[in-house]
């Protein structure tokens, strides 16, 4: 992407509005904005591997949940760590698990990785549900801290950092060239000296730890978590749909998709409460995007990012094995 003045001005305007938002809206809307920022950040973290590297992660909620549980456990009565001290701990734990899951499976075709990540999230749900120290199905509480502004700025900071890292690493550095090259043609990427297994693993770890930071902030924010609320498959589903809706493999697509879908979610919730209806909307959104908006919302605005559909082809090809893997 070439930087344009109009785009830069728009970005500055958005940052200014977001920075001033707590003075402009009441706590109800501030909570919604906090959630929107979290989902924009989570979608971006999923997109690092799914969009830039073309490897579909069906268990990303595992890392969100790990971050949440590490923070909840460390801040509990017995240990009583301060919140910010729990973040590095969550990052280390998440990175270790990402390496354990990713190192063996990212060498193989995408399907193995997709199944492994999905299974890992399922295992964590069961594990957290039966263990005593995690509070079982009942879940676990955190020391309440009821400062909406703190959580708004925490999510804002985390989301801003996530996008900054994504921009610097995937759009502006040679690391990004390596990631996109292996997505588009793995044997050719190897042939120009790229250690594709290592680059995929690095991307996966980065994507996982980002999700865990959002999980940590989320746990402290809502002051109570249980296995379903942080490991649930619907969390991954939402991230995937947000990225597809916004534009797979683009920088701003996940932000657009994340905010759009979260707002729809809140509106439905306002009128119909906690309903399975939302799941139907997610499903319909996927179908509509694939049929009518293959390049996502981002593709509507920019010709340059209009590659999402092709990236989806690569990612799906990776998954089923016909795609880029064949030398000739």
């Amino acid at each position: 992407m070439k930087p344009s003045w109009a785009g830069l001005l728009l970005l500055i305007a958005v940052i200014v509005v977001l920075a001033l938002l707590p003075m402009l809206v009441n706590n109800y809307w501030l909570r919604i904005a906090t959630g929107a920022l979290m989902w924009a950040g989570l979608a971006c973290s999923w997109n690092m591997l799914g969009g830039y590297a073309g490897y579909i992660n069906f268990g990303h909620s595992a890392f969100f949940g790990l971050g949440a549980y590490v923070t909840a456990l460390l801040m509990g009565d017995r240990l009583a760590w301060p919140f910010f001290a729990t973040l590095p701990a969550g990052i280390v734990v998440t990175a270790l698990f990402a390496i354990i899951i990713g190192a063996p499976t990212l060498r193989l075709r995408g399907a193995y990785f997709a199944i492994a990540t999905w299974a890992f999230a399922e295992v964590l749900i069961q594990f957290a549900s039966v263990m005593d120290f995690t509070g079982g199905i009942g879940g676990i509480g955190l020391p309440p801290f009821l400062d909406e502004r703190f959580f708004y700025f925490a999510m804002f900071g985390a989301a801003a950092l996530t996008y900054l890292i994504t921009w610097a690493l995937f759009e502006r550095s040679r690391f990004g060239l390596k990631v996109k090259a292996l997505r588009d043609h793995e044997p050719a990427a190897e042939a120009i000296g790229i250690n594709t297994s290592l680059v995929k693993l690095q991307t996966f770890v980065l994507s996982a730890v980002t999700a865990s930071v959002f999980g940590a902030i989320f746990a402290y924010w809502v002051t109570f978590i249980n296995p379903k609320s942080v490991f649930g498959g619907d969390i991954t589903d939402q991230m995937v749909v947000m990225v597809l809706l916004g534009g797979l493999g683009s920088l701003w697509g996940p932000a657009l998709g994340g905010v759009a879908l979260f707002v729809v979610n809140r509106i439905i919730w306002m009128y119909w409460g906690d309903t399975a209806f939302y799941i139907a909307i997610l499903g319909a959104a996927i179908v509509l995007v694939v049929l009518f908006l293959p390049n996502g919302i981002a593709g509507l605005f920019s010709r340059r990012v209009a590659v999402s559909g092709a990236v989806l082809d690569k990612a799906v090809g990776n998954l089923v094995g016909g795609g880029p893997g064949r030398p000739s």
């Binding site: 040679r174 390596k178 996109k180 043609h185 120009i192 092709a310 990236v311 690569k314």
Partner: protein
């Protein structure tokens, strides 16, 4: 200084030594005991009928496919069975028979990616030079998937140029391209040789082979059946029977 003038250059050993190399796919013995040498700064042509194992031999040398058994020595390193990226970093570069584009990246990014691992210093300038050399400047910002077939061949060749390798393997880089594009590639190969690069080319076009190659290696049914200067090979009617007596 180019990579070809690296530490082991100038020693008598050929840059590439292959011995008794085997590789099979199911029941097909695609490469069935190949032995060959390629000398430093040589431009060698690899010819043979369809399915004789030429591309598979390239895949084995470059590490894209793992050999069943046999030795491959490249620039003093035993590389048989090593990972493709490790072999590439030793100074070997290749093209693929079916153009292997990074479809969703721009033409410039395709070239830069080839420098991402290794000689990153000055990569942007070299990418610009390569675009000029291959006359691709006007499509520099296009997506690779939007290029014509001939332009894709050029771009893939350009990635090899960017690698600054000491040995390059070209798999039918001029097949099916417009004569003007062929001209560009032939000139660029000559430039590479001036730089001290060794080149092994798979080529079906005998005119091209005659003009470009110092020496010919003929494969048939997974084996090397003849090797020598172009004129000797052409005079050997048995070999020509093998090569030309079948549909190409």
């Amino acid at each position: 200084m180019s990579a070809a003038e690296g530490k082991t250059a100038g020693t008598g050993e050929p840059i590439l030594v292959v011995r008794e190399l085997h590789c099979h796919f199911g029941g097909i013995k695609a490469v069935n005991g190949v032995s060959l040498d390629v000398g430093r700064r040589e431009i060698a042509g690899l010819i043979g009928p369809n399915g004789s194992g030429k591309s598979t031999l390239f895949n084995l040398i470059s590490g894209t496919v793992t050999p069943d058994r046999g030795q491959i020595r490249f620039d003093g390193h035993e590389i048989g069975g090593r990972k493709a990226h490790a072999i590439a970093r030793l100074g070997l570069a290749r093209t693929f028979q079916i153009p292997a584009m990074f479809d969703n990246m721009s033409v410039t990014e395709n070239l830069l990616a080839a420098a991402a691992e290794g000689h990153w210093q000055g990569a942007r300038e070299r990418a610009a030079d390569t675009l000029a050399l291959l006359k691709l400047e006007h499509v520099a910002d296009n997506r690779a998937s939007d290029l014509s077939g001939g332009q894709q061949k050029l771009l893939e060749f350009g990635r090899v140029v960017m690698r600054q390798a000491s040995l390059i393997l070209l798999d039918e880089v001029t097949a099916g391209v417009h004569p003007s594009i062929r001209r560009i590639i032939v000139d660029a190969i000559a430039r590479l040789r001036e730089r001290g690069t060794t080149v092994l080319v798979i080529e079906h076009d005998m005119e091209m082979v005659r003009n470009v190659c110092d020496r010919i290696i003929v494969m048939d049914a997974g084996r090397v059946v003849a090797t020598g200067p172009f004129n000797d090979i052409v005079r050997n009617s048995e070999v020509m029977q093998t090569y030309l007596g079948r549909p190409q």
